[in-house]
């Protein structure tokens, strides 16, 4: 029987492949296209966009956002949400820097910071999974908690020691040294971000845990009935998101050399926006890590362009940011409308 059906299959794939492509990748593809469009527009309108330093800074300044976005992609794919990441960054960085100043080994502290992030994630996970608190609320309270603890630790900027060994994470590696600051630069932070993306992609698309994440997003009861480890996986996504928040804290803190209790206010929304722009559905089950990366870059580029324009009246900036975000999702929606009925 299966032999008999080989022949039609040989014909099908290209068509079916395209079909599949349309269904899943479209929003992400749209994101990429629009991103490129923005770059071209920026270059045409303001110039000095397609140049080494602008591009490398786009990555350097948003590496932590990219890391956060990857974490949120996991959570959102399961249909959950994590509002705590911004505050977790504040707490982990403040506590981390204080530990270093207290004489701890810097690299040990890095580990501690990441672990602390994971701990907050674990907290949310437990609340959600074992006390069926709703994700929004569980992570919201974690947000308050982390922010509060951070402020209780210190309300003044905590400085990393000038000679701290972890500052290497922010060292600017000039790949091409252009005139003045027009260099092609990369920092370990960016490399970390790229690694995170790669690993994230691997877990989601090449491991059963990843498949379970998608299945839960599609239909949690079905996933459970299929015997997939729903409980464990749902815990994991929050832990992952927490760990990555901790990592983002490391990257950001080493870049600035200071930690502050008011860092990261509203970053959770940026990260969520990034994932959504990248084509992830907040209802879960659909989306890609790479999309989220593009989303993060789009947001970053958007700020750059607004700055380059410089003529935007102060009152209007939020309107414009909102407007662009809207246009963006509308474009995506239009593309999607073609394949939904």
């Amino acid at each position: 029987m299966s032999v008999a059906t080989q022949t039609p299959d040989q014909v099908k794939p290209p068509l079916a492949e395209r079909l599949r492509l349309r269904l899943d990748f479209l929003p992400t593809v749209a994101a990429v296209v629009i991103f490129v469009g923005m770059i071209i527009y920026g270059e045409a309108a303001y110039g000095r966009v397609v140049q080494m330093n602008t591009i490398s800074n786009l990555f350097i300044n948003n590496s932590h956002l990219i890391i956060l976005a990857v974490g949120l992609t996991f959570v959102i794919l399961t249909g959950g949400i994590d509002l705590s990441v911004g505050a977790v960054i504040a707490f982990t960085s403040v506590s981390g820097v204080m530990l270093i100043n207290a004489g701890w080994n810097a690299w040990l502290v890095v580990a501690v910071m990441i672990a602390t992030g994971g701990l907050f994630g674990l907290f949310s996970g437990v609340l959600i999974q074992y006390f069926n608190v709703q994700p929004f609320i569980a992570t919201l309270s974690m947000m308050f908690l982390a922010r509060g603890l951070a402020s209780m630790l210190s309300t003044v900027p905590e400085r990393l020691p000038e000679d701290s060994s972890i500052l290497v994470l922010a060292t600017q590696i000039k790949l091409i040294d252009g005139p003045k600051v027009n260099d092609l630069v990369i920092t370990p932070g960016v490399i970390i971000a790229i690694l995170v993306v790669a690993v994230g992609w691997f877990i989601l698309h090449r491991t059963r845990t990843g498949r379970t994440v998608y299945a839960i997003g599609g239909s949690e009861p079905s996933a459970a009935l299929m015997g997939l480890p729903v409980h464990a996986t749902k815990m994991w996504v929050y832990v992952i998101s927490g760990l990555l928040a901790g990592l983002a804290a490391v990257v950001y803190t080493t870049r600035l050399g200071i930690a502050q209790n008011i860092t990261g206010v509203g970053w959770e929304l940026d990260a969520i926006a990034a994932t959504v722009i990248g084509g992830t559905l907040l209802t879960g089950g659909v989306g890609f890590v790479l999309g989220s990366v593009v989303g993060a870059l789009v947001l970053g580029l958007m700020n750059v362009l607004i700055t380059r324009d410089g003529g935007v009246p102060p009152e209007a900036t939020t309107i414009i940011t909102g407007g662009i975000l809207l246009i963006f999702v509308l474009l995506q929606r239009a593309v999607l409308a073609k394949q939904r009925d």
Binding site: M1, D9, A16, R208, R211, G285, V286
Partner: protein
């Protein structure tokens, strides 16, 4: 067959839900290499027993033994680990994933670099092939399949793992003869390979065709275990419902003899169509007439029905209701024109799980009246009481969340919802799916009464006999086209319809259809 020791043994299993004792000291055993059918009316406890055996529900009392060892199930995963593979009554797949991903979920082929998709899809294709779905592309999205197809995909999941125990809860409820035969060949092969198979179905023919042994439940209680050959149909029915009833006779008797009291045309569609769903068709429905849609799976019956109701918007053609031009572009407008449509997809397009039986019943009427004209409390209670009694929904508790009803009873509640809207045109897509024989007879009776009362009924069922028995006119569809329209008569039988479908050549399809439409008799010479 001689008694080899049982692979699965369930002793004195009891499970009670708030209000219901779903299972009360039930015994059940499953021998290797046998097909063991679980029989019982709607709500007898079949699915619950299965869910107990697969770790979905915790058992209150009793024990489960596998290969003689006590087995404690904390979840479905444990059951799978114990070699039990299950296809539940409601299709449980993830529509956001591809067919292949669904088939392989949890069993993907691993390699050094994580999942090997090529191999996984290959394996998925094999599994599908075993059920004659080899033509499906594993990479295509599951969404693109009809409910029936999805059910087959769900079954093929269990082909991936070589399970020792295979459980199929009403797998055939939405399949037609061809698929059923295909499924049975697979089941037989597995059985001969020594797999123990637990089968549930309300179709007696199928039960007798496939099963070696029967266990009968009634209201959650264990009635008895029998060898199929020792128990003839009437005896079996008697055991299931506790008494013999005559209603079941007309299950086998041919088409109902009824006076042709066809009134004037209430609905007429000219060349309505929708891309990918159904090609342009004309359709006329008369008052007091039952029109059956016949066709194989994926022939487009549901699609056509959806267009009539407005669930999907017709892209071409025009519609008149009661002779007046009508714009039916959404279910709401369908309802306004007194059209009601009971979907084949009970779980996704029918019940609202978390609403009570009462709310589920009145939802249709209420939607028709609009939110600002709420039904008075009194009327609500009357309506609800009326339909719970008429369709004898069990348990007869209007304040139970509908998700807690058995599959069949949910179906009855939905029927109630649509009858409550006092429709002029009633479209029933697989209304008897998952309904036990007793209830099925009742529903068929009800359909005939409705027609007699002047309602124009569209009846869709994968069970051709049913269609032939009830319909005055039969619209035959194939590949999303209408290929024939027969005025029902003594000479029209399930076989003759199958022949029409088989003979329908691609080129002369259209004239055939027209010819048939004009003088239906000729088709059969």
């Amino acid at each position: 067959m001689m008694e080899s020791l049982p692979l699965v043994e369930m002793q004195d299993i009891s499970i009670s839900f708030p209000g219901v004792k779903a299972l009360d000291g039930v015994n059940f055993r499953l021998l290797p290499g046998e097909v063991h059918t679980l029989m019982g009316e709607n709500g007898a406890g079949k699915s619950t027993l299965i869910k107990a055996l697969t770790g979905v529900y915790k058992i209150d009392e009793g024990r489960i033994l596998i290969n003689g060892q006590d087995l404690h199930l904390a979840g479905t995963a444990d059951a799978q680990a114990a070699g039990i593979s299950t296809v539940y009554q409601e299709v449980n797949l993830c529509t956001n994933l591809s067919i292949g991903e669904n088939v392989m979920l949890g069993h993907e082929v691993k390699s050094a670099l994580g999942i090997n998709w090529k191999a996984s899809h290959e394996k998925a294709r094999e599994a599908l092939g075993k059920l004659g779905l080899g033509h499906l592309n594993p990479k295509a999205p599951l969404k693109s399949l009809s409910l029936a197809m999805q059910q087959l995909v769900a079954i093929s999941r269990s082909m991936v793992t070589n399970a020792k125990v295979l459980i199929l809860d009403e797998p055939t409820s939405s399949l037609d003869a061809v698929e059923v035969e295909q499924l049975f060949t697979v089941i037989r092969r597995l059985r001969d390979e020594g797999v123990a198979i637990l089968f549930v179905s309300h179709f007696l023919d199928q039960v007798y065709a496939i099963s070696d042994r029967l266990t009968v439940l009634r209201n959650g209680a264990f009635v008895g275990e029998y060898l199929t050959r020792d128990l003839d149909r009437t005896a079996l029915i008697a055991k299931m419902i506790g008494k013999d009833i005559a209603a079941l006779q007309n299950l086998d008797s041919g088409r109902e003899e009824r006076a042709d009291n066809h009134g004037e045309v209430v609905y007429s569609a000219k060349q309505i169509s929708r891309k990918g769903a159904i090609e342009p068709v004309d359709l006329e429905l008369r008052r007091g007439e039952i029109v059956g849609f016949a066709g194989l799976l994926g022939s487009g019956r549901t699609e056509l029905a959806r267009l009539v109701y407005g669930a999907d918007k017709a892209e071409t053609g025009g519609v008149t209701v009661d002779g007046v031009k009508a714009e039916i572009k959404a279910p709401a407008s369908g309802l306004k024109h007194r059209i009601a449509f009971s979907s084949e997809n009970r779980r996704d397009e029918g019940i609202i799980r978390d609403l009570t039986v009462r709310e589920n019943i009145i939802l249709g009427v209420q939607a028709k009246r609009g939110w600002h004209r709420p039904l008075p409390r009194k009327e609500v209670d009357e309506l609800v009481a009326k339909y719970i009694a008429e369709l004898n929904v069990r348990p007869a508790d209007p304040d139970k969340p509908i998700r807690n009803l058995s599959g069949g009873n949910q179906q009855k509640v939905l029927l109630g919802r649509w009858l409550a809207t006092s429709p002029e045109i009633l479209i029933l897509d697989e209304p008897t799916r998952g309904i036990d024989i007793g209830a099925k007879a009742e529903i068929q009776e009800r359909v005939l009464e409705l027609a007699a009362e002047g309602v124009s009924v569209v009846f869709i069922s994968s069970e051709l006999e049913e269609v032939v028995r009830l319909s005055d006119r039969i619209v035959v569809l194939k590949d999303h086209r209408k290929i024939a329209e027969l005025v029902n008569g003594p000479e029209v039988t399930a076989e003759s319809i199958v022949n029409i479908i088989a003979q329908d050549g691609v080129e002369d399809a259209k004239e055939a259809a027209e010819g048939v439409a004009s003088q239906p008799e000729e088709v059969l010479q």
